[in-house]
């Protein structure tokens, strides 16, 4: 069974990678299994400087999902390149850096900083984080701004650029087309949906940040729909995510048009979920009549 996938900048031995922010920089999960088994690793967001993020509570549980409002806590791009990338470079696994910022200048600065390392193989442009007050989500909901930040980063970066789309939009296809036209090498989708939970005893929003990003199986039907819609109109590769927790879910994303997938929330339930999915995938593909990941990708999307 051929699980391999080739994407701009990324030679993946299998299509399964942890999603940004759900895997830190890999250290903790490396105590559970050899990270070389993964298709790739997407690191936690990097911003220009160190960020503390939001107050706690930062997470809440919801039916078949969770809310998070971490607020892009990270040590800043310099420290990530100095301390975290070398750790991941010890494994035989491509590394994708998640690039965040509040301004176009900050996105540019972070992207430029990653030019200093060859141990990062692609950038994931996070224009869709709902948990920061400025920037982030606006870039993710306005096609012109999304295109502009994509262009800027493409101009300065030596790495292929994947743009991470926000599902909090009326029209996902317009967003996808805008960043494709701006030169994106690929898309990752979807980020979280903005949600909230009220805490009855305190009569206030449970999260200190009030709103948070909804992830997990609850959002899977929205992710599948958006990927399917985008796949029909956009040619660049898609790394799909949103609620994946087993190999059937992976196949569902592949059929809807994803070329590879990322697993986020499910890591919290089961730290071994990524290697377990990778182990199950050949049998699942075989059951439904496929002999490779590539053969399944896009098979559910009518040629238009």
């Amino acid at each position: 069974m051929d699980l391999s996938v080739q994407l701009p900048g990324l030679i993946l031995k299998n299509p399964v990678m942890p999603a940004s922010g759900c895997f830190g920089f890999g250290r903790e999960y490396s105590e559970f299994y050899d990270l070389s088994r993964l298709g790739a690793v997407i690191m936690k967001a990097a911003t220009g400087g160190e960020r503390y993020g939001n107050h706690t509570p930062r997470v809440a549980e919801t039916p078949s999902g969770m809310l998070n409002a971490i607020g892009l806590q990270n040590p800043g791009v310099e420290k990530i390149i100095e301390k975290e990338v070398p750790f991941l470079a010890e494994f035989d696994v491509p590394v994708i850096a998640n690039v965040a910022g509040s301004t176009i200048e900050e996105y540019q600065k972070v992207a430029e900083a990653f030019n200093d390392t060859n141990d990062v193989h692609a950038l994931e442009l996070n224009i869709s984080c709902p948990n920061v007050k400025e920037g982030g989500l606006q870039f993710g909901t306005d096609p012109a701004m999304a295109a502009e930040v994509t262009k800027t980063v493409k101009r300065v970066s030596k790495h292929p650029v994947y743009v991470k789309l926000s599902p909090n939009v009326s029209d996902i296809v317009t967003m996808a087309k805008a960043v494709e036209a701006a030169g994106a090498d690929g898309l990752t989708m979807i980020n979280t949906l903005t949600g909230m939970q009220m805490h009855l005893p305190s009569k206030k929003p449970l999260l200190a940040n009030s709103t948070g990003g909804l992830s997990g199986p609850a959002i899977k039907p929205i992710a599948i729909r958006m990927i399917y819609e985008v796949r029909r109109q956009v040619a660049i590769p898609i790394i799909g995510m949103g609620g994946i927790s087993n190999s059937e879910d992976v196949l569902e994303f592949l059929l809807a048009g994803a070329n590879a997938v990322a697993v986020g929330t499910a890591n919290f339930q089961n730290p071994l979920v990524c290697p377990e999915i990778i182990d199950q995938l050949p049998e699942t593909l075989h059951t439904y009549g496929f002999d490779s990941v590539k053969a399944a990708s896009g098979k559910g999307v009518p040629v238009s």
Partner: protein, 253 residues
């Protein structure tokens, strides 16, 4: 080293109002566990695991005891588990209370626990008493029906019970009693945040350790859900990995 393990429920009993005690069998976990660490327990139908402290360990029998209060849908589901069923856990997790490394001058130890913060102090107290320390325990509960483990604490500690409503033991808050207890060298505390704040400010001059709670995502240090500001820096500590136990001056409550 945290592992993903199955633990078989050897016994399960209601030991106070809404409070369940479970004895769980798994030799690897019990061998590795130290006081103050927790188990991160999977609950079917729930996205996030539930962190529950280790209340006791029997290394010979290969068992670990937990005590939890029914607090919401997850602990309710957990309470419905019966003997012979298996729990899926990550653990033992986190950094517990310093014991072996405790300086030898600490002869007298004060434990201050509130409600469901009391379980980790039980395993801690028993361990310290076995090391030859004198242990005093001040334990606060809502009311008489919530009191648990009084006899167990009495086996190794001079034990004072306080209830909010005075229905058992002394009436009031644990902090009301702190002036009356014998002089002590060091304290360990666990309980609700307002209690921790009162205790640490009242005992500001003392050497102390606290065990903290926060809503967790991963429970292993990867997601940044459970941070607490570090005192005197712009940095932070992760409760699930660096804690849940911290030195009182180390963090900002």
């Amino acid at each position: 080293m945290i592992n993903k393990e199955k633990m078989c429920i050897q016994s399960r009993q209601l030991i106070a109002a809404d409070t369940i005690e479970m004895v769980l069998k798994n030799r690897r976990v019990s061998q590795a566990a130290s006081p103050g660490q927790f188990l991160h327990i999977s609950v079917p139908g729930h996205t996030l695991r539930r962190p529950i402290s280790i209340a006791d360990v029997d290394k010979d029998a290969g068992t670990t005891t937990i005590l939890f209060k029914i607090n919401g849908s997850g602990t309710e589901r957990l309470a419905a588990y019966t003997e012979e069923m298996h729990l899926d856990i990550l653990g033992p997790s986190g950094n517990g209370f310093p014991t072996a490394t405790a300086s030898m001058e600490d002869h007298t130890i004060l434990l201050i626990g509130g409600g469901i913060g009391i379980p980790p102090l039980h395993y801690l107290g028993r361990t310290l008493a076995e090391q030859g320390k004198k242990v005093i325990a001040v334990l606060g509960f809502q009311s008489k029906s919530h009191v648990f483990y009084e006899k167990k604490f009495q086996q190794f500690a001079e034990t004072f019970i306080v209830t909010d409503d005075g229905s058992y033991g002394n009436s009031g808050l644990v902090t009301d009693l702190l002036d009356d207890v014998t002089p002590f060298d060091r304290y360990y505390t666990c309980g609700p945040m307002p209690m921790l704040q009162a205790v640490t400010s009242k005992l500001a001059h003392k050497d102390g350790y606290l065990s903290l709670e926060e809503r967790m995502g991963c429970g292993i240090g990867a997601c940044f859900a459970c941070v607490i500001p570090e005192a005197g820096t712009s940095g932070y500590r992760k409760i699930c990995k660096d804690g849940p136990v911290f030195q009182a001056e180390e963090v900002v409550l």
